[in-house]
């Protein structure tokens, strides 16, 4: 397989994944996108092994390593900061389930507790998932950014007389 064919295939797989994600949301079946995502990664990995041209050597490996290390350095700080904030939100209320017996609604001092339950609302899990996706996107953008930086530094897109 040619290198360009591989990149084309990777693009098609990405588009299909977007479609399956939409379908998964429509059908409310998270397993669909989860399985499709893993299969897509496997397909790309197998296709990459079939590329005949050299697409990775010691220089690209070094660029990848440096970009990955910088991404890790920045992203762990971002993850930790967000996790600290989440922990503060979580521990500012008692953890656990709502008491099995409803409290007396006539007790005025308990009205506040009934309108605002003193346990974590369930939709926090949804926010957590979205937060994770945002962080994941941040990691991807950081990695791409650092990779572009190091690729430029170590001459990824330089031109020479052979290309003109």
């Amino acid at each position: 397989m040619k290198r360009n064919s591989f990149y084309l295939l990777a693009g098609i797989v990405a588009l299909i994944e977007v479609g399956i994600f939409w379908l998964s949301v429509e059908l409310e079946k998270p397993l669909l996108i989860q399985v499709a995502f893993v299969l897509g990664i496997l397909l790309i990995y197998m296709a990459r092994k079939r590329v005949e041209e050299t697409i990775e050597d010691e220089r690209t490996a070094m660029i990848t390593q440096k970009a990955a290390l910088r991404t890790l350095e920045v992203s762990w700080v971002a993850f930790f900061a967000l996790s600290l904030g989440s922990a503060v939100v979580a521990f500012s209320r008692p953890l656990g389930l709502r008491p099995p017996h409803p409290l007396d609604p006539n007790a005025t001092h308990l009205v506040m507790r009934l309108t605002e339950p003193d346990v974590l609302p369930f939709n926090l899990f949804g926010r957590f998932a979205v937060g994770q996706l945002v962080l994941l996107c941040l990691v991807i953008f950081l990695y791409v950014g650092f990779r572009v930086y190091y690729a430029r530094k170590y001459g990824e897109w330089d031109r020479d007389e052979e290309q003109d």
Binding site: D57, E58, R59, T60, G155, D158, D160
Partner: protein, 69 residues
């Protein structure tokens, strides 16, 4: 490091693509080495010198100023 890869390529009538294929690296790597943007590993430096049939010092010379980048 300074290098004379371009000179040796010309002597052997080789393109960057041709040399890259012979050495099993990407053309961009040869280009980056030639331009002094990337210093090859010792292994690759030896491969390059051996391919041209010369000593490694003939192709690569250590440049103190460039070494500190």
């Amino acid at each position: 490091m300074k290098n004379k890869i371009k000179v040796y390529r010309a002597m052997h009538d080789l393109t960057q693509e041709g040399l890259a294929n012979e050495l099993g690296v990407t053309r961009q790597t040869i280009l980056a080495i030639e331009k002094g943007k990337y210093d090859p590993s010792l292994e690759l430096a030896f491969k390059i010198a051996r391919f041209f049939g010369v000593a490694i010092e003939e192709v690569f010379t250590y440049d103190n100023a460039a070494g500190s980048k």
